[in-house]
């Protein structure tokens, strides 16, 4: 495997990691503040992709499509929070997991009914279809933009949480929810804001990957699991953990899938290598998770609760 190929795969891993971060940040934020685990988060990602693809189909405007994905998912988030999720916030986590599981099944089917089971495609505008040179390696411009967009979002989140009053409430809420409520902060408003923010991030992620993945029912399921792995590795409730965890998971998964078969191909004979490689590569992330948990059960960057 050439160093150039390796570098390209590393960039892919980074891009995947950034996508995972967009989802993980929302999920972990909602969990950290509202102690609410939302398995329908993957469905929000899926809706973002569908809204974007549908808008692009009608308007042919890439910008509008992205905004539709982001905004649509946010609106959906607000609706969910206002119309029913609030009942679930005080319930035990198992109840939340199961209820949002049911919602996820519903969303997948709804999408299937509206848009059909076949994947729909969103094409890239010409301007974004180029390749650029990164450190001497050709790489698709669009994927690079995803990485940059994700980093910008990460910066924005950091500024929001560390430098604004809302962020202060978020931080306070993450370590001591009851206190924040006791201080007279309108918890309901804060919850809606946080939930909408998380939903928007997920929708943005879905909208951005529309052009490079196929948009189909159930696309949120596998990335949801990956997001959960990210959160478990990074530390539940921790944005920093979500960022670093996402990058690590993105890299390990992508490199695992591409490098492992190649490495095995050198050590073992072809047939065995390819079967083993396929199996092992998707396991790499889970093995990583098991190792992290063996050493640090609370994750790499856990939030300290009072």
């Amino acid at each position: 495997m050439s160093p150039q190929l390796l570098f390209m795969q590393a960039l892919n891993g980074l891009q995947y990691g950034i996508l995972l971060f967009l989802l993980a940040a929302g999920l972990t934020l909602v969990f950290g503040i509202m102690s609410f685990i939302n398995l329908a988060h993957g469905a929000l990602y899926m809706m973002g992709a569908y809204f974007a693809a549908a808008t692009f189909g009608h308007t042919n405007s890439f910008l509008l499509a992205i905004l539709a994905g982001l905004g649509g998912a946010m609106a959906l988030g607000v609706a969910l929070d206002r119309c029913g999720f609030a009942r679930l916030y005080p319930r035990a986590h198992l109840d939340q997991v199961l209820a949002t599981f049911g919602l996820m099944l519903f969303c997948n089917e709804a999408v299937r009914m509206i848009w059909g089971s076949a994947p729909i495609f969103m094409s890239l505008p010409d301007a974004l279809s180029n390749t650029v040179m990164v450190l001497g390696t050709p790489y698709p411009l669009y994927r690079l933009l995803i990485i940059l967009a994700g980093l910008l979002v990460a910066l924005g989140l950091y500024l929001l949480i560390e430098r604004t009053r809302v962020g202060m409430l978020i931080r306070a809420g993450a370590s001591n929810r009851a206190m924040v409520a006791a201080l007279g902060v309108n918890i309901g408003w804060l919850n809606t804001f946080i939930f909408a923010l998380g939903a928007g991030l997920a929708g943005l992620g879905g909208a951005m990957v529309g052009p490079i993945l196929s948009v189909q029912p159930g696309m949120g399921d596998s990335i949801l699991i990956m997001t959960l792995v990210v959160i478990v590795i990074g530390g539940i409730g921790s944005i920093r953990g979500a960022f670093l965890g996402a990058l690590v998971v993105g890299l390990v998964d992508t490199l695992g899938r591409t490098v492992a078969p190649a490495l095995l191909g050198r050590a073992l004979e072809q047939e065995l290598a390819s079967t083993l490689g396929a199996a092992v590569s998707s396991l790499a992330v889970y093995v990583l998770m098991v190792i992290v948990l063996a050493v640090k059960p609370e994750g790499l960057f856990p939030v300290k609760k009072r």
């Binding site: 685990i37 986590h93 997991v97 199961l98 079967t275 199996a279």
Partner: protein
């Protein structure tokens, strides 16, 4: 302050005098289940027999999960993986020509223990939501393993040419059904004793207040791990039967959505009750069949039904009739 999960029953019964309703109802339930093969042969409907066999498979799995979830408070979102392991033990052994029924059973028990023990140990290092997510992710690991192993069918699954050999009963649908029913009954009787035993007392106490258990000088880990492994064994046994029922082993048996549905079955019936999971599995699968008959897009109804079950049916169907303590 978190409201109590639907897995912890709100009611505590006074000791019942005279006829024990739960026992009577359970006997009635099993009597009805015994009639199914009779009905099937009379009406010559193998479909009914197969459907109810499938219900019994998941009833057994749900009973297994209930030990860990309902009595142990261990919310495993990955128990379907043991159903898959049981099925694949049968399938892979048959693939290599070994089709002895007893051999298959032995394989299932040993392999499941070898997997469940380390998985349980890893997962039990965490608690709460982390435990849920870790069991989910570990189950995914096995799912991908099954999908990735192309020589055993990969994501298309592995057909089983030779079912578990049990002499004259091999391949008999009625025989399978009755064996399932017998296993289910035996499991319930054994569980009844285990729950009331010293082990069961510690397990139940740990699920309600682990700190209190430590404060009396007992460390909950060993008990929880054993409960986890035993519950995995019951699910794997269910997988053994499933493989023989469908002559097929598939990664789909281990999908995380299957684990989710298994939890719903336990909840629907009544977690922490003995017979609840049986009722829950039957209810869930019959509902699914009914909805499938109505529309192709049955999931659009099933999804909200699941949400409603979680929101409103806190004690489960069986839990509404009996309260857990009365079952002793």
């Amino acid at each position: 302050m978190k409201m109590e999960s639907s897995i912890v029953n709100a009611r505590v019964a006074r000791p019942s005098a005279g006829v024990s309703w739960p026992a009577a109802l359970t006997v009635l339930l099993f009597a009805l289940l015994l009639l199914v093969p009779v009905y099937a042969s009379v009406t010559d409907s193998s479909y009914v027999l197969l459907q109810f066999s499938r219900i019994l498979v998941f009833a057994l799995a749900a009973v297994g999960l209930n030990l860990a979830l309902g009595y142990g408070g261990l919310v495993s979102f990955g128990h379907a993986m043991y159903i898959g392991i049981g099925a694949y033990c049968v399938a892979i052994a048959s693939h290599y020509g070994a089709d002895g029924g007893v051999l298959h059973l032995l394989l299932v028990v040993v392999v499941t223990a070898l997997v469940a023990a380390p998985v349980g140990l890893i997962a039990l290092r965490t608690q709460g939501i982390a435990f849920i997510m870790i069991t989910l992710a570990l189950a995914q690991m096995f799912y991908f393993l099954a999908v990735g192993l192309k020589q055993y069918g990969g994501d298309e699954g592995l057909p089983i040419r030779q079912l578990s050999r049990f002499g004259a009963l091999t391949g008999s649908h009625a025989g399978l059904y009755l064996a399932l029913l017998a296993c289910l009954g035996a499991s319930l009787l054994l569980l009844r004793r285990v729950i009331r035993s010293r082990f069961g007392l510690i397990l139940r106490a740990s699920s309600m207040d682990a700190r209190r258990v430590r404060a009396v000088g007992t460390s909950p880990l060993g008990y929880r791990l054993l409960a986890y492994v035993l519950s995995a064994e019951l699910c794997a046994l269910a997988g053994f039967f499933l493989a023989n029922l469908t002559a097929f082993a598939s990664p789909a048996y281990m999908a995380w959505t299957a684990s989710g549905e298994l939890i719903i079955m336990v909840l629907l019936g009544g977690a922490g009750t003995l017979v609840g999971p049986v009722v829950g599995a039957a209810g869930f699968l019959l509902l699914e069949e009914g909805l499938k008959g109505l529309t192709d897009h049955w999931m659009i109804i099933m999804g909200p039904v699941i949400v409603l079950i979680v929101l409103f049916l806190r004690n489960g169907l069986w839990g509404m009739i009996v309260s857990p303590r009365e079952e002793h």
